[in-house]
């Protein structure tokens, strides 16, 4: 282990643990098998894997799809919290920063739930306390009776300035879209600022985040393109990636698919991404493009983690893969509950 000389044991330990955990994730073949099963069989299979404890604990309170949903959310939150506990030093800082995206999701869910008059229990079922807001903090927010008080209760949190600034407009327009976009932009801006502050390992974290931003910007671009939107789309651009806001806006104005792909190819360097852009030169459905982009992102992340085995990469790759495992299992269960054909469900699984 010459290459690992000088790296502290906790770093090696946590990265190895992440690789072991990643190996335990449900393989592709298992999803294929589950596609041919009914909901009770899927529940049983899930109950035999890493989710056993949650399924057993919740089995008396919930049943059917609710049991799977809540068990998956609990497991995801528990797993993420555990990882935050075991990661040392700067890896912990990066992990915590990366997981703050769950705060956005949780706060927006609570705000929307409150706006729609959803029951507290129902909102709580879908919260994933994986970010900086733990179960107690989320319970406190859930105890607030209206969105204004929820935002007030977040005073001092990272998100508060954006929430306080954007909520009046969201309330007036009845739409959280601008607030949601601004929260995501602030999230990435803060992560980049943190990674660029000179902290050890920040460069590797930055690579990962840039890839995430690039894929997100590309997905947005393809989505807006599918909609043939002529408006100014700079508001939806996340700064920090390979695409500048001007490139982003200019790309949206190109009508010809070939020219569009050529311009994109000139802006990116990753081979996998360039190969994908060549593949999607012919018109593909937006869903297909989105799935392929997610796949490229995961492949790239995997490569990064192999190139830097003792870094933040193995941790983040595991976090992402775990997220998609929960997403897939939930989609499978919900799809089966809605009696969707397996061919349709498989299109939406990230395998």
């Amino acid at each position: 282990m010459v290459g690992m000389r000088g790296i502290s044991a906790p770093y090696i330990y946590v990265c190895t643990r992440m690789r072991v955990r990643k190996a335990k994730l449900i393989p592709r073949e298992e999803y294929q098998r589950m596609l041919n099963m009914g909901l009770p069989e899927i529940t049983r299979i899930i109950g035999e894997t890493e989710y056993k404890q949650e399924i057993d604990e919740l089995g008396t309170t919930f049943k059917g799809i609710d049991l799977i949903e809540v068990a998956l959310s609990w497991n995801l939150a528990k797993e993420y919290q555990k990882i935050q506990e075991i990661t040392p030093g700067t890896l912990k800082t990066f992990t915590q920063a990366y997981l703050r995206r769950w705060d956005i999701q949780n706060v927006l869910t609570i705000l929307r739930g409150r706006m729609q008059g959803a029951k507290t229990g129902k909102i709580k079922e879908i919260l994933v306390p994986a970010g900086s807001l733990d179960t107690q903090a989320l319970d406190r927010l859930l105890g607030e009776e209206n969105p204004e008080r929820v935002i007030e209760a977040l005073k001092g949190h990272h998100m508060y300035p954006v929430l306080a600034r954007e909520y009046p407009y969201a309330k007036e327009s009845g739409s959280f879209s601008r607030m949601e976009n601004e929260l995501f932009k602030q999230f990435y801006a803060e992560i980049i600022a943190g990674a660029e502050s000179g902290i050890k390992g920040g460069n590797l974290f930055l690579d990962f985040i840039r890839l995430d931003i690039d894929i997100k910007n590309l997905k947005t671009l393809f989505r807006l393109r599918a909609d043939a939107l002529d408006a100014d789309i700079r508001e939806m651009h996340i700064p920090g990636g390979a695409l500048s806001a001007t490139d982003f806006a200019n790309l949206n104005t190109i009508k010809n698919q070939g020219e569009f792909i050529d311009m994109l190819k000139g802006l990116y360097r990753q081979k996998a991404l360039l190969a994908l852009l060549d593949e999607i030169r012919e018109e593909k459905t937006i869903r297909d493009v989105e799935t392929r982009l997610t796949r490229v992102q995961l492949e790239q992340m995997e490569k990064m983690s192999k190139r830097h085995p003792i870094s933040i990469h193995p941790i983040l790759v595991y976090l992402e893969k775990k997220k998609y495992e929960v997403f897939n299992l939930r989609a499978l269960a919900r799809g089966k509950e809605s009696k969707l054909p397996s061919e349709k469900i498989v299109d939406y699984l990230v395998m």
């Binding site: 927006l108 729609q116 879908i126 949601e180 408006a231 789309i233 989105e290 809605s338 969707l340």
Partner: protein, 209 residues
């Protein structure tokens, strides 16, 4: 009209002849209107069949997309995206005239929206929400189109039924009764004329004797 109520007078005969002429003209016009309406109805029927089929297809797709959106984004995600909609579709109702039948003409706007105008955040949602929203917008458009076609069809059918009843009434009741009354008056007038002639002859014969 019972024949016993008919006054066998010349003026009545003239009146009846006028009525028969009017009824026959009305009968011809109504028959032409009925045929015209039937032609229009069959033209619309073909469109209605297509639009009904299209509506059903779009409904099935929208329902499937909703199930998929619930699968991918969860019920709250779908609901929050749905509640983000700010602009509701606008419908303008006008009317047009098909052979005297007033049928609606529905114009709609703001049904199909762009991703930005739908009101949900692009960065926090996936394409499945776009596809679901788009499927439902197409469904609403199909419903509006079907509403126009099917209301037109219903009104045309009502009018055809009404015209058919009128044509039948004229053909089988009014005109035959009027013709019978005319014939009766003619017969009575002829008979009265013959009686008069006979009476005159008898008077003449008596006065000669």
């Amino acid at each position: 009209m019972a024949l016993r109520d008919v006054k066998p007078t010349r003026s009545e005969l003239i009146n009846l002849k006028r009525k028969i002429q009017l009824s026959e003209r009305g009968y011809k016009i109504l028959k032409m209107k009925r045929d015209g309406l039937i032609l229009e109805f069959f033209k619309i029927l073909a469109t209605a069949k297509d639009s009904r089929g299209e509506l059903l297809k779009k409904y099935e797709r929208a329902a499937e997309m909703m199930a998929l959106a619930n699968t991918v984004e969860g019920a709250i995600g779908v609901k929050s995206a749905a509640f983000s909609v700010r602009e509701v579709p606008q419908i303008t109702l006008k009317s047009k005239n098909i052979m005297g039948v007033v049928v609606p003409e529905i114009d709609s706007s703001k049904v199909k929206k762009s991703v930005i105008d739908r009101g949900y955040g692009v960065l926090g949602t996936s394409t499945v929400i776009d596809e679901t929203a788009s499927a439902f917008e197409e469904l609403v458009e199909a419903i509006i189109e079907s509403a126009e076609i099917e209301t037109t069809m219903k009104r045309l059918l009502d009018e055809i039924e009404k015209t058919k009843r009128r044509v039948n009434a004229l053909e089988f009741k009014v005109i035959p009764e009027l013709t019978a009354a005319r014939d009766f008056i003619k017969m009575r007038l002829d008979e009265m004329e013959r009686e008069e002639l006979f009476r005159m002859k008898r008077i003449k014969a008596r006065s000669n004797a």
